[in-house]
Point group: C2
Chain length 188, copies 2
């Protein structure tokens, strides 16, 4: 675990600079307090708007809104109504993701099991090359095209429904994170 | 690889019964022809409509439409317009997924690398318990609520846009599968 101290230093700085989602700091601290683990990156789950040139063309994607907390549909409505660009805009809910370097395969297996039990069903070993990295990931997601060729497609009522669901997904993620924290604290 | 012959027998029967998506049969055959691998389940990628009681309540979810090929938006429009139930209906695009049992960690690592190079960016070790199982998975996805409380929210024009994007995603998946097949054939 030779790079652990460097990652912890970077994380402390990022927390000070407000660059880490508050909701997930506990999880990172619990993991980093364990001898067998350290975290390299994380997202607590979020609601975003991205601008896209073409389908799947992630190279040209551009964030125009990002929130780790519940959002008011009016904020989203205002952004898309005032949008004057020519790209597509997607409303996306991303589940929470944490990348964790593990000491060995045994500790990786243990972490995956705990994560799955806590509701993070998509947890898996993400990389095996240089380090063993587990990705803790949950299933909540939504991907909706809102604007294309300058046309705002959803009605205001429809956007209310979409944002209501997006907020419910964030709430589910929050509960899973609490469950995960509880289960991680019990690791020896 | 003691269960391989049983899985191959089951797969042959499923192919005969038309239960395996045509588009992915080549991939399964190539993998199963290699000494170090065998496949246990697969989906070529699909466009579906599901009925849901509540957000995230997968227990109560129910398929009402499923296609592994491009769809005509009119078919989807008809289904949602004629729907008389009280649940939510979501339009979902699932990326392709293949589960592959690997002989050892080395062969798993090799398969993950090939899969990622072929565009299946979410490929990872899915299980380590009893067997080493790699999940080959790509990133294409869409999740859109269409109907809630008996209200069909998208306009016909909006549905055209959604289905057009869904079809483009299926097309991208198809190309990735072809690339994957090419790269898998080169494994010794």
């Amino acid at each position: 675990m030779k790079d652990k101290s460097r990652y912890l230093r970077d994380l402390r700085k990022m927390i000070q600079d407000g660059e880490v989602d508050l909701r997930i700091i506990d999880t990172l601290n619990i993991l980093n307090s364990k001898e067998d683990y350290y975290t390299t990156s994380s997202c607590a789950g979020r609601i975003i708007l991205i601008e896209l040139e073409e389908i799947g063309g992630k190279k040209s994607s551009n964030f125009i809104f990002k929130s780790h907390e519940k959002v008011d549909y009016k904020d989203i409505w205002k952004i898309i109504k005032e949008y004057t660009g020519a790209k597509m805009i997607f409303l996306i809910v991303n589940s929470s993701i944490i990348h964790v370097v593990c000491k060995d395969l045994e500790s990786a297996k243990k972490l995956i099991n705990i994560s799955k039990e806590s509701g993070f069903k998509y947890s898996s070993i993400f990389s095996l090359s240089d380090k063993i990295i587990v990705e803790i990931r949950s299933t909540e997601k939504m991907d909706i095209p809102l604007v294309k060729n300058g046309v705002v497609y959803p009605s205001e009522d429809y956007l209310v429904v979409m944002i209501d669901i997006a907020n419910q997904l964030l709430e589910r993620i929050k509960k899973k994170i609490e469950k995960l924290n509880e289960n991680l604290r019990n690791i020896k």
